[in-house]
């Protein structure tokens, strides 16, 4: 028990965090991150900011560069260009100081089939710099308990279901208290109950002040657990910020139920309010106007208004808008390229 100080002696001092350029409020930051594999640009110009204490959901379709970005963020892959700061330490030099405080589950759990869950976790624990040797069994036991694997801890990993494997990966990330936990598709292969448990674990971490970075292509999951969102598409960040702000900025609208659809649309358009008819009634864009003005205009025009409600853009709409717009643009530019040069990409 007294070895703690003894072991610290003789260790090199931690290099001063590169606090000069880094705002104190960021747990991780990437600047101009780019990764090229051969001729494929996997990630390009990614400036990601993970605020301390946030639960940041990294969203993106398959192949949008989420995992590559995470792998660079954790120093597993060297970026072609750009820089990474993790917990105030610049990678790769600061990795030894940053990574002990980072728990990660990347690209699925990496365990050995012939060892039991507990043995696999003990092997991970042996490599954890911050874990004192006498405390390894307890840390392992508690991590197993936390992900609900205590009963299956003695069984071989070979016989684990996909969900149990994923949980064991999560347990490895939670072996000791972390400042940042990075989870790459944590609910892959989990049933609804398992998904809820992962959400509960993320909520626990958030409540304890841990910063969480979670990547997913499941929008509902992100919407339910995250405070911040970064949307990746084709290797670039197309939007990031607080989830609430993003959703509100995402074109708030007013939905008006009325039998006089045509009259309503005409009246609004005459007053320079963008409106269109929808199956449910009339949709009014609120970027340039306010709800009371819309209602006043409609009433003034003698339109029978049954119901007016604010339409909140869901994450799904936002995501679709961000990624599909890009895709359409990209398709258009592809077509142009087709006209310009012979060879399409």
């Amino acid at each position: 028990m007294t070895t703690v100080t003894g072991m610290v002696i003789g260790e090199e001092e931690a290099p001063a965090a590169v606090a000069a350029g880094a705002p104190a409020g960021l747990a991780a930051r990437t600047t101009g991150l780019r990764k090229v594999y051969g001729k494929t640009v996997a990630v390009d110009r990614v400036d990601l900011e993970v605020p301390v204490g946030a639960v940041l959901g990294m969203l993106g379709p398959n192949g949008s560069g989420k995992t590559t970005t995470i792998r660079m963020l954790l120093g597993l892959v060297t970026p072609t260009a750009g820089s990474v700061e993790l917990l105030g330490h610049r990678l790769p030099d600061g990795a030894a100081w940053a990574l002990p405080e980072v728990g990660a589950l990347v690209e699925g759990p990496g365990f050995h089939p012939f060892l039991s869950g507990r043995e696999n976790l003990t092997r991970c624990a042996a490599a954890e710099p911050r874990l004192a040797t006498p405390d390894i069994p307890r840390a392992v036991g508690e991590a197993l308990e936390r992900v609900g694997l205590s009963a299956a801890a003695g069984r071989r990993y070979r016989g684990y279901s996909l969900g149990m494997k994923q949980r064991l990966g999560l347990a490895a990330a939670l072996l000791l208290p972390r400042r940042l936990v990075v989870l790459d598709e944590p609910t892959n292969g989990l049933d609804p109950a398992g998904t809820r448990e992962v959400r509960a674990v993320i909520a626990d971490l958030h409540a304890a002040g841990t910063t969480v970075l979670v990547s997913s292509h499941l929008l509902a999951e992100v919407e339910a657990t995250c405070t911040h969102v970064a949307v990746l598409h084709r290797g670039s960040v197309v939007a990031q910020g607080e989830l609430r702000e993003l959703l509100e900025a995402g074109g708030a609208g007013l939905l008006v139920s009325t039998p006089d659809v045509e009259v309503a649309v005409d009246a609004l358009r005459d007053n320079r309010m963008p409106a269109r008819s929808t199956p449910d009634g009339v949709h009014v864009d609120l970027t340039a106007t306010t709800a009371p003005e819309v209602v006043a205009t409609l009433v003034g025009a003698g339109v029978a208004v049954h119901e007016v409600r604010r339409q909140r853009t869901g994450l799904e709409d936002l995501f679709a808008r961000l990624t599909e717009a890009e895709t359409n643009e990209a398709r258009l530019s592809d077509v142009e390229e087709l006209h310009d040069e012979e060879a399409p990409q």
Partner: protein, 297 residues
């Protein structure tokens, strides 16, 4: 100082230190324990322990039935058997030289293949890199594990062969190739020396295999390369017209290991073989390190 039960309710209450590296001894123990838990490691060690038993039994059977050796080549078997009869400590020498030709290098290559390429394929390597274990340290830990297992394999064969030799063939000393007879303890010393020299040769093969292992995620590639390499080197070494190439072939050292049962023991060939193996080890680990630091995790 007791830092025992610190930690919030939401977090596991564990002892933490401010180290940036896990203790090296803990990593090495964990690696060796892990390798010994792998079923194919145990199977390989078990089979290697059987080789001396098979060799010992067949020789003692052949020696016990001289009438059977009437056919062509029979006299040769009879000759070896006659030499070994009552000369049990020759068996470990015979078995070690036999297994060094193919079995031991292959087993070493198998462990090297599993150590990096195999671990990369399962994702275990990523877990270690994230802990974090630095790339150079990771390679050192892996190299230590492979080297320890290679040593263990040679020890298993040697012990098994010494026991088989003494039980099946008997004898309390060693009849050398020079015609003299060594007493028991010096004979056992010769066997131990040979075991050590054989281990270094296996380490050399394993070092090169580990270098290949850092370049791929497929352990089979390493094993195929090692098998192909050993066969190619054996052929090259057998071609007299390529004698200018022989000094750089690792298995050129293996023939001179027979010097161990001469009396007095000539050391030139043994030393040269040792230095050649050390060169291979140096080159192998340098290549492995160069690749390891830039490898994607």
């Amino acid at each position: 100082m007791t830092t025992g039960t610190v930690g919030a309710a939401a977090m596991p209450a564990v002892l933490t230190t401010t180290r940036s590296r896990a203790p090296l001894g803990r990593l090495l123990r964990s690696e060796v324990r892990f390798m010994l838990r792998r079923p194919r490691t145990l199977v390989a060690l078990g089979l290697l322990a059987l080789v001396p038993v098979i060799a010992g039994v067949s020789i003692s059977v052949a020696a016990g039935m001289p009438d059977q050796g009437a056919g062509p080549g029979g006299s040769a078997v009879e000759g070896i058997a006659a030499l070994l009869e009552g000369n049990g400590l020759i068996l470990p020498v015979f078995v070690l030289l036999l297994t060094l030709a193919m079995l031991l290098p292959l087993v070493g290559a198998m462990w090297a293949a599993d150590a990096i390429a195999g671990e990369a394929a399962t994702g275990g390597l990523r877990n270690l890199m994230l802990a974090p274990v630095s790339r150079a340290r990771l390679l050192a830990v892996k190299a230590f594990g492979v080297a320890t297992l290679c040593l263990l394999a040679v020890v298993v064969i040697s012990v098994s062969a010494v026991l088989c030799g003494l039980v099946l063939l008997g004898g309390d000393g060693m009849l050398t190739m020079s015609g003299t007879t060594l007493p028991f303890w010096p004979s056992l010393g010769r066997v131990a020396l040979l075991a050590l020299l054989v281990t270094v040769q296996v380490w050399a093969v394993a070092a090169v295999a580990l270098a290949i292992s850092t370049w791929t995620d497929h352990p089979l590639v390493v094993l195929a390369a090692a098998t192909g390499g050993i066969i190619t080197f054996t052929v090259l070494n057998a071609l007299e017209s390529l004698s200018w190439l022989h000094p750089v072939l690792i298995n050129a050292s293996w023939e001179s290991l027979g010097d161990i049962i001469r009396d007095p023991m000539p050391t030139d060939g043994l030393t040269e073989g040792l230095l050649r193996a050390l060169c291979y080890i140096l080159i192998g680990y340098s290549l492995a390190l160069a690749r390891m630091v830039s490898r994607d995790g």
